[in-house]
Amino acid sequence: MSTTIPRRERPKQPAKAAKPGTPATSQTAYGRHSQRWLAWIFLAPTILGMGLFTLVPIAASVVLAFFRWDIISAPTFVGFDNFAEVVQDPTVRVSFLNTIAFVIVAVALQLGLALALAVMVQEKMPAWLRTFFRSAFFFPLILSAASVSIFMRYLFNEQFGVVNWFLSLAGIPAVPWLTTPGGSAAVVILVYVWQNFGFSFLLFIGGLASIPVETYEAAALDGATGWRKHVYVTLPLLSPTTLLASVMAIISALQVFDQTYVLTRGGPGDSTRTAVMVIFESAFQRLEFGEASAIGVILTLIIMAITAAQFRLSKRFVFYQ
């Protein structure tokens, strides 16, 4: 038996503005006018916030990239000099390469781990345990990255850290986690992924929940079970979520700073120096605000390019039901 719920008719909009003297209702031009104002009033805080704290700084940063400025003296116009210096600076080059390497490894690990755990939690766990793991995996994300990094510095201390103490129980000699290029990069990635995979995990949980059970049942009838079920059903139907998760993870990873600054200060050498760290050092330690802005502009362009490429490629790999 089907029930038809009568749809509420939308009031027809008057074709022309009402004549003066017509009672003001929501259907009149006056009403539309007032609604528009109301809309603007509600939007105003966001527009103001976006404008003042996002668009103006971005514009200021772009302008500043063409000046030499140390906060104290008056800014001097230098044209593209800052960009030229930045491009030639080996530290900046290394930091961008580090950032890209970091993004590749950290994002792959973050998404891989989040997807694997999401599938496991969603499929194998009872409801109460699922709730527990959702909270547990998301929990690191609400902690301050700086505090976490300070704590991790103690854990990974070569001489007195808990991690090396555990390794020593298995007869493994102390690993110089934070004082060798390989070790420090590994710790930074580990800490970053541990703290951030919870967000992707939640996205995947949401994505998995939205896949209709019927699709799996149909696939099972066709003989797709286990691994094949995930490859031919889950992954394709999860592709919009994967796109969103990867875009957000890449943008976030390109801006990594707290972990590298607190854990390793970019060292040893330049091994964990990242693009945002170089921006911070140029601006607030060397007082080269123009140069810092130039690096910021380049990083923004890179983020925009990568995001645009992801959306372009998504046309091939993303499947909507």
Binding site: D70, I72, F160, P176, P181, T264, G267, P268, E281
Partner: protein, 473 residues
């Protein structure tokens, strides 16, 4: 009242709810306006003398007794101390610079050697005219303060700060670890070879869960004391002319008068000096042989606890450690302090701190009165009642300050300056932040690998320093 008469709660319309929300937002904004506009920051918006120090609100409160004493002396000058929390001095200077950029700089800033030349070059007002004017009042202060500390605050012939406290990189050692290794107290002129032998003996006595030499990767107490001991540095050190007006006025009879100048200058990198290589190679050897750790990044905040729990044999630090070790449970005989080991020289490294008047200060005369008062014995005793640092006044580094806390040889602290008058400040040109970054980022690599890696790290340091010094010259 409709609601009351009908006995029903009046229905809250969406418009009413939004209105209430709007009123709430406006109310909250008005109530928090002082915080939003920053007008609740001490000294802002009134004619108080605002003084910025690095520390916590508790540190600011600790200065209150000194402020009260100052106010009794100068009831017309209102003083407000603003404590700025920062990880290290570099971080603190960054925050001061942002205040300058925001147009709300403090009038007086407590600045350590790390930032002395940055402030002198760009932000601070020289004290020369005030010192000339109040020479008679200031004679007693200079007679009690070692000229090396004063010279550290000279920049191009002018004096920008009066030293209030300071610390040299002396060598702390754990007496229990020394005793376990059969070691006696080191001689005053022990050498870098003696030091290495001591580390080897400690390592032999305690092969696990113990580090004979622990050090941090930073400008103070890192590689620099070793470079100084080997009569070199990673920057070429020169002196500027001028400053005779001060030395002839206050230190005319000091035996080290001829050593004094218009201030230190670090204009060129020196990481390619063979002695720099030799020094790094020595430290690399300590790391390689398990006698010392690869230097830890950051301020070494974990060090006091580790040292107090007898897991560290030796580490370089100044008098600022005494109170911390005492609070961590170390008895006065559990540890001691010695001079830094000798190499080609026994020149030590020190850092000092004092107040600088900002160029933008509203009332520079009032600022000077605060500085002059802070330099008095009365004020310094109020500010430094515990050995959380070494007071700049020689007479205050006494038995009473270290009583019940140690170390037994506390005289080492001030003797470092008296016995080794060439002892020099932290190499900190106006580009200190960039220089420190260049140093730190290469130190770990230099001491952690083979000889080839050491050479590469020093070449990289030389390049980075060239860039750092060129950028803002």
């Amino acid at each position: 009242m409709t609601g009351a008469t009908t006995g029903r709660l009046r229905e809250i319309t969406r418009r009413t709810a939004l209105g209430a929300l709007g009123a709430g937002i406006v109310g909250a904004t008005v109530a928090s306006w002082p915080r939003l506009s920053g007008s609740d920051i001490p000294g802002r918006g009134d004619n108080s003398l605002s003084i910025a120090i690095m520390g916590t609100a508790a540190d600011a409160a600790a200065r209150q007794r000194a402020i009260d004493a100052f106010t009794r002396l100068h009831p017309d000058i209102r003083v407000k101390v603003q404590a700025i929390q920062a990880v290290d001095w570099k971080d603190f200077f960054t925050k001061i610079l942002t205040m300058v950029a925001a147009g709300t700089p403090p009038d007086v800033v407590y600045v350590a050697t790390e930032g002395a030349q940055l402030f002198a070059d760009k932000l601070a007002h020289p004290l020369d005219e005030y010192l000339r004017r109040d020479a008679a009042d200031m004679a007693e202060f200079f007679a009690d303060v070692h000229p090396s500390l004063v010279e550290a605050f000279m920049y191009k012939g002018s004096l920008f700060q009066l030293p209030m406290d300071w610390n040299a990189a002396n060598m702390y050692y754990n007496t229990t670890a020394f005793a376990q290794a059969g070691l006696e107290r080191p001689a005053d002129d022990w050498t870098h070879v003696d030091f290495r032998n001591s580390l080897a003996a400690m390592r032999k006595a305690r092969p696990t869960d113990f580090t004979p030499y622990y050090w941090t990767n930073r400008l103070f107490g890192g590689v620099v004391p070793w470079l100084y001991a080997n009569d070199t540095s990673f920057l070429k050190e020169t002196r500027s002319t001028g400053g005779d007006w001060l030395w002839d006025s206050f230190y005319a009879n000091d035996p080290s008068r001829n050593l004094r100048s218009g201030g230190y200058q670090w204009l060129e990198p020196n990481a390619d000096d063979p002695r720099v290589f030799e020094t790094f190679d020595y430290l690399r050897g300590l790391v390689k042989d398990g006698l010392g750790v690869r230097p830890e990044e950051g301020g070494g905040s974990s060090l006091v606890g580790l040292f107090a729990s007898n897991r560290i044999g030796t580490t370089p630090a100044g008098g600022y450690w005494v109170q911390g070790l005492h609070e961590a449970g170390m008895k006065e005989n559990d540890y001691d302090v010695a001079f830094f080991p000798k190499w080609r020289s026994q020149r030590h490294q020190f850092g000092t701190a004092g107040y600088a008047i900002m160029k933008t200060a509203k009332d520079k005369d009032a600022a000077w009165e605060w500085i002059k008062f802070s330099a008095s014995r009365e004020a310094m005793e109020l500010i430094f009642p515990n050995p959380v640092t070494t007071p700049a006044r020689r007479s205050m580094v006494n038995e009473a300050l270290y009583s019940g806390k140690g170390p037994a040889h506390w005289k080492v602290f001030y003797d470092t300056l008296d016995k080794y008058p060439t002892t020099g400040p932290i190499p900190a040109p106006p580009q200190q932040a960039a220089v420190e970054t260049a140093l730190m980022k290469n130190v770990s690599l230099a001491v952690s690998g083979d000889e080839r890696q050491l050479k590469q790290a020093l070449e990289s340091m030389q390049r980075d320093l060239e860039l750092a010094l060129r950028r803002q010259s």
